[in-house]
């Protein structure tokens, strides 16, 4: 317990230092006002946009977009990855394609999709989904492939069928890689979302940042950036930490490194 408190204070101090440095640098005009807002200004705009509801609205839209597309993309990716992991030939056949599409995933599709679908939800949805699917598929495939053969054989000698092996060995065994893939994919999806909103939308937190910058309202921009970081951290904490805790950590499949 005491160790926790110590660790927590230790990790807070750098942030206090950072904000202090920010405050000093901006109030002494070491950094020009035109380039970076003061902490107080960012706080004011934060309070203001919470009060008028615009921040909640934009964040909500972004979150909804992200989660819907991420869920869809995640499911697709997992199915694809399992197929490729279970059937070696399929995996080998599709792998170059998946690799190729992975390398142009997300934002690269934006121009073409905008041409096809114009502006709007479907464009953003597609870009996120596209950023998610291939990462998840590749990771899931590797996850299935690296499950040690002995577990599989052990189950067969216990009278298990192929289905048992999939359910009791391959799915839990592939979970560490799968979760890792999903985690990376969420980050990728979040990036694609922001990029998509900057380029091809008129709502959402990404659009808000863009709007702020085109009016040279740096306080709005910085507030938006901080919100983006905060949301990403929160999502990771709320979705993946509990998920990992309940599964792969409990099974001792991850080795924790001391920081």
């Amino acid at each position: 317990m005491r160790g926790r408190v110590v660790a927590w204070t230790q990790s807070v101090i750098p942030f206090i230092g950072l904000i202090l440095a920010w405050w000093i640098l901006t109030t002494t005009y070491a950094i020009p006002r035109a380039l970076f807002p003061r902490p107080s200004e960012v706080w004011e705009i934060f309070v203001q946009s919470v009060a008028d509801g615009s921040l909640i609205w934009n964040l909500g839209i972004s979150l909804a977009r992200l989660l819907i597309s991420f869920a869809l993309g995640g499911i697709l990716g997992i199915l694809l990855g399992f197929g490729m992991g279970l059937f070696a030939g399929l995996g080998r056949f599709l792998r170059p394609l998946i690799n190729f599409f992975n390398s142009i995933s997300g934002i690269t599709w934006l121009p073409l999709i905008m041409l096809w679908l114009g502006l709007g939800e479907r464009v953003i949805g597609f870009v996120i989904l596209n950023a998610v699917v291939f990462v998840v598929a590749l990771n899931t495939m590797v996850g299935v492939q690296v499950v040690p053969r002995v577990y599989e054989n052990a189950l067969y000698t216990l009278g298990g069928t192929r289905w048992h092996v999939i359910r009791d060995v391959l799915i839990p065994g592939a979970l560490p890689h799968m979760l890792a893939g999903l985690r990376v994919a969420l980050g990728m999806g979040w990036r694609a979302l922001i990029a998509g909103e900057i380029v091809a939308s008129s709502s959402g937190i990404g659009y808000q940042i863009y709007l702020g910058s085109s009016y040279f309202k740096q306080d709005l921009v910085v507030m938006g950036i901080l919100m983006v970081g905060l949301m990403a951290t929160l999502l990771d904490r709320l979705i993946f930490e509990p998920l990992e805790q309940a599964t792969i950590r409990r099974w001792g499949l991850v080795v924790e490194h001391k920081a």
């Binding site: 121009p111 073409l112 950036i225 983006v228």
Partner: protein, 275 residues
């Protein structure tokens, strides 16, 4: 079979049958996927009959590729994108490795820097872009800074993991040989963390490449990202697809000819990678 042993028979069978099979396999697995892709593409065009301005056929895309190659756009834009990513790498990799080492080796540095780095890592590079534009204008520096930002974090985190996972006993061993702290760093920590550092560089490049394309769409007046973004406003679907293929191919080439050999040359040779 008379007179030849079993081993000889096996060798013979392998020599003839396997060669043929392997050749067939190689064709199926190396050419097949792309063939399938073309098939789907043409299938969509022929059976669904979409607006040809939006879904060009394969020949048009190839024609466009040849066109931009001939008028010099391709070489110009490609080289600009490559130069930008090289500059971003030149900035981000050394700094990332240095900071990663600092954090991995020194607890005080870790305590002060790690929380900050974690936080900034959660902000995607693209979100900074509007601010970077305000700072630096619509210039190359903006794009390079944005790409560096994406490249930096994977390098840092992987370097830290690399430093921390070098088995303690290696350090002890070198010290019992009379090695100083410096020997430990150069002979143990540096090579020992190299695999992780290389993974970090490879991951970072993937982020940076995406960030670069996005930044070029918004900021630049040239480069591959600009190529496809501009083509969109001119409704040149063939050019967009040509550009996308270029982007994918360039990445694959970078990965295959630059990043993978780096891995092979060192860590594979030491047997640190089993696969």
């Amino acid at each position: 079979m008379a007179g030849t042993g079993l081993a000889e028979a096996v060798r013979q069978a392998k020599g003839i049958e396997w060669k043929r099979l392997e050749f067939l396999e190689a064709i199926v697995y190396n050419v097949g996927p792309y063939f399938l892709l073309l098939l789907v593409w043409e299938g969509v065009r022929v059976f669904l009959q979409p607006d040809p301005r939006f879904v060009p056929d394969v020949r048009e895309v190839i024609g466009e590729l040849i066109y931009i190659l001939k008028n010099g756009i391709l070489v110009d834009y490609l080289s600009r994108s490559l130069l930008r990513i090289a500059l971003a790498a030149g900035v981000a990799i050394p700094i990332g490795i240095l900071i990663g080492f600092g954090i991995g080796l020194n607890e005080a540095i870790a305590n002060t820097l790690l929380p900050l780095i974690r936080f900034f890592n959660s902000i995607p590079a693209i979100a900074w872009l509007p601010l970077f534009i305000i700072w630096l204008g619509f210039k190359d520096q903006t794009i390079i800074l944005d790409a560096s930002y994406g490249l930096f974090f994977p390098v840092v985190f992987n370097t830290i993991v690399g430093v921390q996972t070098v088995p303690r006993v290696f350090r002890d061993a070198v010290r019992t040989l009379g090695g100083s702290w410096w020997h430990v760093v150069t002979d143990v920590i540096l090579p020992g963390s190299l695999p992780a550092v290389l993974i970090g560089i490879r991951t970072g490049f993937a982020y940076a490449w995406r960030g670069l394309i996005a930044a070029e769409m918004i900021v630049a007046a040239n480069g591959l990202g600009y190529l496809i973004f501009k083509a969109q406003s001119m409704i040149l679907a063939d050019r967009i697809i040509a550009g996308m293929i270029l982007i994918g191919l360039t990445w694959s080439f970078l990965d295959y000819f630059l990043l993978q050999p780096l891995e092979e040359g060192t860590i594979r040779r030491w047997g640190l990678v089993q696969r």
